[in-house]
C-alpha cells in the first residue's frame, strides 16, 4: 500500500513503560490496518496489535545510543514506546503511521475491509438487532399525545436529524418547520424519551436563534404542544445545559436561550456543563497524570483535582439527575438543549433515560440507548473522535464522558446493570476503532449515502454474540431495585465519584483487583447454574426410576446432563485463520471473533479463560490468546519465515483488499 514506506523493521525494542523490566526485542510490521509488534522470544511470540485508527499521536523522540525512540499514544489510552535501531527506519515508520492514522476518505477505514466471514443475510440480521421503531413502541408510542412525524422525510427540514421522529400530536408540520427555522441548525424540539407512568417526556433540540429580542410564534407553539402532551403538568422545564455565561455570549451571535416572558408556562434552568474544548483540555490534563510513572499520592490527587475531569462528570450527572427527578417525581416534561444539541444534550438525555428506565440498564437496552440518543440524533462521531483527518478542535471526549457516567453509576449501584465494565470498555474501544460501521459519519443522512449497512458490519451484533463476556453476575432482572428509577441523592457529592483506572490506566496495571472479584463471582454463578442443571437431571432421573418401579419395567436411564457452558471460542473457530506469514490478510480471513479479539484483548483485563488457565503472562501488552497461542501452535514453521516473502504478501493482499472495497 502506497503509504507504507517500510512494511517491516527488525530488532525493534518495545519498552515496558510501567515496570522496570528490560525492553523486549522483536519485529515491527506495518500493515494496511495494524501496527504489529512480534516478540522474538521463540516459544511465546507475544504480539501487540494496534489499529491505525486507534493512534492518537505519534512522537519521535531524540535519538539515543540504543536507537530512535517512537512514542505512540492511543485513543484507548494505551501508550506504546518503541526503540528503532536505525534513524532512517524510524523516520519511515513515523511518516507512514502519521499518514495511516489520518485517513482522508471513509473507504480507508478498517470497517470497509474487515470481514468476519458472515454471509449477507447474517450481516443484515446484525443490523436489525437494534430497532428504534421497536424502542418507541416499547415506550408506548404512538399514543393520543405523540405521533410519528414524516416532516423530516428525505432530511428536508434538518439534515442532522433522523427521518423518523416523534412529536406532539398537536404540533402541525407548519409549527415544526417554523420552529426549526428558529433553532440552530434547524434542530427543532423532538422526543427523546417518553415516561409511560405519568406521560412526562424528555425532548431535545438546539438553542433558539433568539439573540437579544427575537421570538418565533411557531417555536412558542411547539413548546406549548410539548406541555399539552403531558396533561399531568401545567408547565415544562427548559434545561439549557450550558453555563449561563456561555449562553449569554451566544446571544450576541443571534443565538441564545429562551426568554421566559415569551414562552408561557416554562421554567428555565441553566446547568453549567462546559463546552467540548474545556472537556478536551480536562481529559488531556488527567491523562498527563495517568502517564506519570508511579505517581505519588499528591501528584495524583492534585493532578486529578486540577484536571477538573471528575467535576465535569459530576456536572453531567447532576443534569441527568435533575431531569430524571423532574420527570419521575414532578411529572413535568423537560426540553433539553445546549448549543447545537448534539453533545451535552446527548449526554444529559441519555443519563436521564438510564436513571429513569431499567431497560436501558440491560445489555440490549444500552445499545438501544446509544443508537437513539447518539447515533440517530446526529452526534458527530466523525468529528469528535477524529475518524477522518479533520480539525483537531472538533475532537472531544463527549461519549467517553457518558460512558464514564455509566461506570460511575455502576460503581454506585453494582447490582442495577446487566452488563459489566468490560462492556463499556469495549464500546469505547470500538467507537475509535472503526472496525464496525455503527459509529461512522456525523449523521444518519451521511451513513445512508455511504451505504454503511450494506458495506460494513454492526458492532451490536458482535457484542450480542459474545454477551456472555459482558454480563454482570450481580445483576438480576427480577430484583426490585432494578425495576424503577435509581435513587440518587439530589446532587451526589464529589467523594462519590472515583477515578476510573479500569479505563484510563488499564494498560498500566495488568490485572485490576476489582475485576478479579467479578470473575470469581462469575465462576460462582456458573457453579450454581451447573448445580441447578445437575439437580434437574437428577430429578428427571428420580422420576423415571419411580415410574419404572411402578411399572415394573426395567429401562435404562440414560439421561445425562450437559451443562451448557459459554466457553469463549474454541480453537476450531480459528482453524481457517491465517498463519503468521500474512498478517495483513487477517482482515479477510480471520473468523469473526479473532480480529476484534485481537485488538480487544489488549484492552482486556483478564478474561475468565485466562483466569482458569492462570496464564503466567498477563503483562501490559500481552496480547490476545486468539492471536498468539493459536498462531504459534498452528504454525510449526512460524519462526523461520522468509522476510522478503512477508512483505511481498503484505502488499499483495493489501491491494486485494482495496480492490474489493
Amino acid at each position: 500500500m502506497e503509504h507504507i514506506r517500510t512494511p517491516k523493521v527488525e530488532n525493534v525494542r518495545l519498552v515496558d513503560r510501567v515496570s522496570s523490566k528490560k525492553a523486549v526485542l522483536g519485529t515491527l510490521y506495518l500493515t494496511a490496518t495494524h501496527v504489529i509488534f512480534v516478540e522474538n522470544v521463540p516459544d511465546a511470540r507475544k504480539e501487540t496489535w494496534i489499529l491505525h485508527s486507534q493512534i492518537s499521536t505519534i512522537e519521535k523522540q531524540a535519538t539515543t545510543a540504543t536507537g530512535c525512540p517512537l512514542l505512540i499514544r492511543c485513543k484507548n489510552f494505551q501508550i506504546i514506546q518503541l526503540i528503532i535501531p536505525q534513524e532512517r527506519d524510524c523516520h519511515d515508520v513515523y511518516i507512514s503511521l502519521t499518514r495511516l492514522a489520518r485517513p482522508v476518505k471513509y473507504e480507508e477505514l478498517y470497517c470497509f475491509s474487515f470481514n468476519p466471514k458472515l454471509d449477507k443475510e447474517e450481516r443484515e440480521q446484525g443490523w436489525m438487532l437494534i430497532d428504534l421503531s421497536e424502542e418507541y413502541k416499547r415506550m408506548g408510542l404512538p399514543n393520543n399525545y405523540w405521533q410519528l412525524s414524516d416532516v423530516n422525510r428525505d432530511y428536508k427540514v434538518c439534515d442532522s436529524y433522523p427521518t423518523e421522529l416523534y412529536v406532539p400530536k398537536s404540533a402541525t408540520a407548519h409549527i415544526i418547520v417554523g420552529s426549526s427555522k428558529f433553532r440552530s441548525r434547524r434542530r427543532f424540539p423532538a422526543l427523546s424519551y417518553y415516561y409511560k407512568d405519568n406521560h412526562a417526556s424528555i425532548c431535545r433540540s438546539s438553542q433558539p436563534l433568539s439573540g437579544f429580542s427575537a421570538r418565533c410564534l411557531e417555536d412558542e407553539q411547539m413548546l406549548q404542544a410539548i406541555r399539552k402532551a403531558n396533561p399531568g403538568s401545567d408547565f415544562i422545564y427548559v434545561v439549557d445545559t450550558r453555563p449561563k455565561l456561555n449562553a449569554m455570549a451566544n446571544r450576541a451571535a443571534g443565538k441564545g436561550y429562551e426568554n421566559e416572558d415569551n414562552y408561557s408556562n416554562i421554567k428555565f434552568q441553566f446547568i453549567g456543563i462546559e463546552n467540548i474544548h474545556v472537556m478536551r483540555n480536562s481529559l488531556q490534563k488527567m491523562l498527563e497524570v495517568c502517564e506519570l510513572k508511579s505517581p505519588s499520592m499528591s501528584d495524583f490527587l492534585w493532578g486529578l483535582e486540577n484536571s477538573g475531569w471528575l467535576r465535569h462528570i459530576k456536572a453531567i450527572m447532576d443534569a441527568g439527575i435533575f431531569i430524571a427527578k423532574a420527570v419521575s417525581e414532578e411529572g413535568a416534561s423537560v426540553l433539553v438543549h445546549c448549543s447545537d444539541g448534539w453533545d451535552r444534550t446527548a449526554q444529559v438525555c441519555s443519563v436521564a433515560s438510564l436513571l429513569l428506565d431499567p431497560h436501558y440498564r440491560t445489555l440490549k437496552g444500552f445499545m438501544v440507548l446509544i443508537e437513539k440518543d447518539w447515533i440517530s440524533f446526529g452526534h458527530k462521531f466523525n468529528h469528535r473522535y477524529g475518524n477522518l483527518d479533520g480539525d483537531p478542535k472538533e475532537i472531544s471526549p463527549v461519549i467517553d464522558q457518558f460512558i464514564e457516567c455509566v461506570w460511575q453509576l455502576m460503581e454506585q449501584f453494582p447490582c442495577a446493570f446487566e452488563f459489566n465494565e468490560r462492556f463499556l470498555i469495549h464500546i469505547q474501544h470500538h467507537i475509535y476503532s472503526c472496525q464496525f460501521g455503527n459509529f461512522l459519519c456525523n449523521s444518519q443522512k451521511e451513513r445512508r449515502e455511504l451505504k454503511i449497512q450494506e458495506r460494513t458490519y454492526s458492532l451490536w451484533a458482535h457484542l450480542w454474540k459474545n454477551r456472555a463476556d459482558y454480563l454482570n453476575p450481580l445483576f438480576r432482572a427480577d430484583h426490585s431495585q432494578n425495576q424503577g428509577c435509581l435513587h440518587l441523592p439530589v446532587a451526589p457529592c464529589n467523594s462519590m465519584y472515583k477515578f476510573w483506572s479500569g479505563m484510563y490506566n488499564r494498560f498500566e496495571k495488568g490485572m485490576q483487583p476489582r475485576q478479579s472479584v467479578t470473575d470469581y463471582l462469575m465462576a460462582v454463578k456458573e457453579e450454581s447454574q451447573q448445580l441447578e442443571e445437575e439437580l434437574e437431571a437428577l430429578e428427571e432421573r428420580l422420576e423415571k426410576i419411580q415410574k419404572v418401579q411402578l411399572n415394573h419395567i426395567t429401562v435404562k436411564s440414560n439421561k445425562q446432563s450437559e451443562p451448557s457452558k459459554h466457553s469463549g471460542f474454541s480453537t476450531s473457530d480459528n482453524s481457517t485463520a491465517n498463519t503468521p506469514q500474512d498478517y495483513s490478510g487477517n482482515m479477510k480471513s480471520f473468523p469473526s471473533r479473532s480480529p476484534s479479539q485481537g485488538d480487544e484483548d489488549s484492552a482486556l483485563i483478564l478474561t475468565q479463560d485466562n483466569l482458569k488457565s492462570s496464564d503466567p503472562d498477563l503483562s501490559v501488552n500481552s496480547d490476545q490468546e486468539s492471536g498468539v497461542e493459536d498462531l504459534s501452535c498452528r504454525s510449526p514453521s512460524g519462526g523461520e519465515r522468509a522476510p522478503s516473502e512477508d512483505s511481498g504478501k503484505d502488499r499483495d493482499s493489501d491491494e486485494a483488499v482495496f480492490l474489493t472495497a
Binding site: 515496570s19 483535582e305 447532576d318 440518587l488 467523594s495 483506572s501 498477563l618
Partner: protein
C-alpha cells in the same frame, strides 16, 4: 416517620435558615413537654453501669436536614456513655434494625469515643473544656468514630443544663485514673456472665505454649526459642511475660538493659529469614556507659550476624521513617473532612475534596507504610535477609510494620482468627500503648497518635484491593476500629501486658475478653451478621506457596514482577501503591454523612447479592446431596438474609436511621451560585440578622 416528637422547626415558618437557632414556638414546646413526661423511655444500662446525670427536653437535631428539625428526648450521661433517649425510639424497632450494634445504640456515645465538645453561644461555636462560666444553648459532640451530634439545650431547665454539660465535660475531658475505667466495674458486675466460645481460636500469646505453637507454625523453632525470663515481669514491665529470642542469646543479656537492645523474634518466613524487632538502648551522655552499651550491642550483633543466621539489615524506624507527630497531624486534618457540622459545610469541602485530601497527607502516609512493608518483604523473601526493626520502645511503628508484613506474607493472618491472633501478638503483647495512643485517660494530648488506626487503614487497602484473599471484610475492620473506644473489652485499654495483668490480678478479675479468649468483635453483632463479616470468598487458605525464581535486589523489580503475575490469594500478597490505588476507607469515614449515601447501592448491594448467590449454591448443593442419598428429608428453608437488600443504603450496617427525604426538591446545593428565590430569601435573612447583632 419522626412522629409527634418531631418539631417542624423551619417547616412552617418562612425561610428557614441554616443557623444554630431553632424556630420552635413556645406553645409547641409545651405540648411536647407534656408528651415527654407521659412517655417513659427506659435507659438500658449495662451491668455495673451507673447513671450520673441527665437532662430532659433536649432537642437532638436531625443532621441530614438543613432546615432545623429535631427529636425531643432525654440526654443522659453514665459512667460508660452519653445517651440520647428519643421519644419515638420504640417506633424504630422494626426489621431494619436487624443488624444493630448490641452494645452501642444509634444515639449512644461511649465516653472514650468523644473527641471534641463544642458549645454554641450566640451562634458562635467554641470548644468546651474545664469549668464553664456560661452554659451554651447548643452542644455539638464530635466523636472518634466520626459521628457528629447536635443537641439543643434551649428548652431544658437551667440547672439540668448545668448538670449535664459540666457532667459530660468532666467525664469525657478531664484526666482520669486507670482504675476508674468502666471496664473494671463492668467486669465486677458481669462476672462469669460470658460463656466461652470453643469455636474461637484466637491465640492470646499469654502462655509459653502459645509462643511455641507460633514458632512451630512458622518453622522458626530451628533458630529461635521461647523464653520465660520475664515471668512475673521480673525484668521489664514493657515486655510480655513470654517472648522469643535467638537460641544462642544468653538470658542474662535480656536482663542487662531491661530487655532493651535485644533482638526479639516477630515472625519467620518460609525460607528461614526472620523479622526481628529491638527497642533502642537508653540514650546516655556518659562515655563510660556508652562504652558498655557499645560492647553489649557488639556482642548481640555477633550472635545474630553469624550463621546459621542470615545477614541482618536494620531498619531504624525512629530516625528514618514517618514520625509519630506526622501521623497525628495528618490524621487530625484528615478527620476534619468527615466531622461535618452541617450540610452547607459539607458542600463547601466537597468542592475541594481531592486537594483537601491531599493536603491532609493521610493517604500518603498509608502509602509510605505499605511501601516500607514491601521493602521489608523484598529483603526477607527475595534476598533471604533478616530484618531488624529498631525503634525507641519497639511498640509503635514496629507493631505496625511487623504486622503489616505478616498480613501480606502469611495467609494465616488473613483469616479472622489469624488476624486477631496477630493483633494479640504484635500489638497487645508487643506493648503498644493503647491507653496513651488513644488518650483514653485524657492525661496527655501529646501522646495521642492513631497508630493502630493507621494499621487498620493499611489493611483496609489490602482488603479493598484483594478482597478474595481475606476471610473478613471491611465491615469487620470498621467494627474493630470502633471497638477501640468501647471500654468493655480490655484488649485496647492498657499500655502493656504488665499493666493489664497487675490491674486485673489486684482485683481478681477476668474480663470477658480474656476469659473467653475472644476478641472485641465476637458477639458484637448478632449471630447472623457473621455472614457479613466473614468474607465468603476466602474459603480455604492453603499453605504458603511461593515461586520466586528470578528476583533481583531491587524493590521496584520485586514489586513489578509480583504484579505482573496472577495473584495467588493464598500466598504472598502485595498491594498496589500507585497514587490512584490508595483510596479513602469510605465505609469508616463517610458512613455518617447522609450526603454520601446511596440508597440501594454501594458495596453493601454487592455483598448482599453475593450472599444470596452463595445461599442458592448451598441450597442446591444440599438438594443434590439429598437426591444422591435418595432421602426424602424435607429441609426447612434457610432463612434468607438481607431479604430487603434493595432497600438498604450504602451506609448499612451503620447509620441505620438516616433516611432520605424523597420530596421532589430541585437541587440547590450544586447550583447555588445561580441563586434561586429561596436562596435569595435566605441571604436576605442572614443580612438582617447581621444587622441586629
Amino acid at each position: 416517620m419522626l412522629g409527634k416528637g418531631v418539631v417542624g422547626g423551619g417547616g412552617g415558618t418562612k425561610a428557614p435558615k441554616p443557623s444554630f437557632v431553632s424556630y420552635v414556638r413556645p406553645e409547641e414546646i409545651h405540648t411536647n413537654e407534656k408528651e415527654v413526661t407521659e412517655k417513659e423511655v427506659t435507659l438500658h444500662l449495662l451491668p455495673g453501669e451507673q447513671l450520673l446525670c441527665e437532662a430532659s427536653t433536649v432537642l437532638k437535631y436531625v443532621q441530614e436536614d438543613s432546615c432545623q428539625r429535631g427529636v425531643y428526648g432525654r440526654l443522659v450521661c453514665t459512667d460508660f456513655k452519653i445517651a440520647f433517649l428519643g421519644d419515638d425510639e420504640s417506633a424504630l424497632d422494626n426489621g431494619e434494625t436487624q443488624f444493630k450494634n448490641k452494645v452501642i445504640g444509634e444515639n449512644d456515645i461511649t465516653l472514650h469515643c468523644v473527641d471534641q465538645i463544642y458549645g454554641v453561644f450566640d451562634e458562635k461555636k467554641k470548644s468546651l473544656f474545664g469549668q464553664l462560666k456560661k452554659y451554651p444553648e447548643k452542644l455539638i459532640i464530635h466523636c472518634k468514630d466520626l459521628r457528629v451530634f447536635h443537641f439543643c439545650l434551649r428548652y431544658t431547665k437551667e440547672e439540668e443544663v448545668k448538670r449535664i454539660v459540666s457532667g459530660i465535660i468532666h467525664h469525657t475531658q478531664a484526666p482520669k485514673l486507670l482504675k476508674r475505667l468502666f471496664l473494671f466495674s463492668y467486669a465486677t458486675a458481669a462476672q462469669n456472665n460470658t460463656a466461652t466460645d470453643p469455636k474461637n481460636h484466637t491465640v492470646m500469646f499469654d502462655t509459653l505454649k502459645d509462643w511455641c505453637w507460633e514458632l512451630e507454625r512458622t518453622k522458626g523453632n530451628v533458630k529461635y526459642k521461647a523464653v520465660s525470663v520475664n515471668e512475673g515481669y521480673r525484668i521489664s514491665e514493657r515486655l510480655p511475660a513470654y517472648f522469643v529470642v535467638p537460641i544462642p542469646l544468653p538470658e542474662e543479656d535480656v536482663q542487662r538493659f531491661q530487655g532493651h537492645g535485644i533482638p526479639i523474634w516477630c515472625w519467620s518466613c518460609h525460607n528461614g529469614s526472620t523479622l526481628l524487632k529491638m527497642s533502642a538502648l537508653p540514650k546516655e551522655q556518659d562515655d563510660g556507659v556508652l562504652q558498655i552499651q557499645k560492647s553489649f550491642s557488639d556482642g548481640i550483633y555477633k550472635i545474630i550476624h553469624r550463621p546459621p543466621y542470615e545477614i541482618v539489615k536494620t531498619e531504624d524506624l525512629s530516625n528514618n521513617f514517618i514520625s509519630l507527630q506526622e501521623i497525628q497531624t495528618a490524621y487530625s486534618k484528615f478527620k476534619q473532612l468527615f466531622l461535618i457540622d452541617n450540610s452547607t459545610e459539607f458542600w463547601d469541602t466537597d468542592i475541594k475534596w481531592f486537594s483537601l485530601l491531599e493536603n491532609s497527607s493521610w493517604l500518603d502516609i498509608i502509602r509510605r507504610c505499605l511501601k516500607k512493608a514491601i521493602e521489608i518483604i523484598e529483603c526477607l523473601e527475595a534476598q533471604n535477609m533478616n530484618i531488624l526493626l529498631l525503634e525507641e520502645n519497639a511498640s509503635d511503628l514496629c507493631c505496625l510494620l511487623s504486622s503489616l508484613v505478616q498480613v501480606m506474607m502469611d495467609p494465616h493472618c488473613r483469616t479472622k482468627t489469624g488476624f486477631q491472633s496477630l493483633i494479640q501478638k504484635e500489638w497487645v503483647m508487643g506493648g503498644h500503648c493503647f491507653l496513651d495512643r488513644c488518650n483514653h485517660l485524657r492525661q496527655s494530648d501529646k501522646e495521642e497518635v492513631p497508630v493502630f488506626l493507621l494499621f487498620l487503614d493499611c489493611v483496609w487497602q489490602l482488603v479493598h484491593q484483594h478482597s478474595p484473599a481475606f476471610e473478613f471484610t471491611e465491615t469487620y475492620l470498621t467494627v474493630l476500629s470502633d471497638s477501640l473506644y468501647i471500654p468493655i473489652f480490655s484488649t485496647f485499654f492498657f499500655n502493656s501486658p504488665h499493666q493489664k495483668d497487675t490491674n486485673m490480678h489486684q482485683r481478681q478479675l477476668s474480663l470477658p475478653l480474656t476469659q473467653s479468649k475472644s476478641s472485641p468483635k465476637r458477639g458484637f453483632f448478632r449471630e447472623e451478621t457473621d455472614h457479613l463479616i466473614k468474607n465468603l470468598l476466602g474459603k480455604r487458605i492453603s499453605k504458603l506457596i511461593n515461586s520466586s525464581d528470578e528476583l533481583q535486589d531491587n524493590f521496584r523489580e520485586f514489586y513489578d514482577s509480583w504484579h505482573s503475575k496472577p495473584t495467588d490469594y493464598h500466598g504472598l500478597l502485595l498491594p498496589h501503591i500507585e497514587g490512584p490505588e490508595i483510596k479513602v476507607w469510605a465505609q469508616r469515614y463517610l458512613r455518617w454523612i447522609p450526603e454520601a449515601q446511596i440508597l440501594g447501592g454501594g458495596r453493601v448491594a454487592t455483598m448482599s447479592k453475593l450472599l444470596e448467590m452463595m445461599e442458592e449454591v448451598q441450597s442446591l448443593q444440599e438438594k443434590i446431596d439429598e437426591r444422591h442419598h435418595s432421602q426424602e428429608v424435607l429441609q426447612a428453608e434457610a432463612p434468607c438474609l438481607l431479604r430487603n437488600s434493595a432497600r438498604l443504603s450504602s451506609l448499612f450496617p451503620f447509620a441505620l436511621l438516616q433516611r432520605h427525604s424523597s420530596k421532589p426538591v430541585l437541587p440547590t446545593s450544586g447550583w447555588k451560585a445561580l441563586g434561586d428565590e429561596e436562596d435569595l430569601a435566605k441571604r436576605e435573612d442572614e443580612f438582617v440578622d447581621l444587622g441586629d447583632v
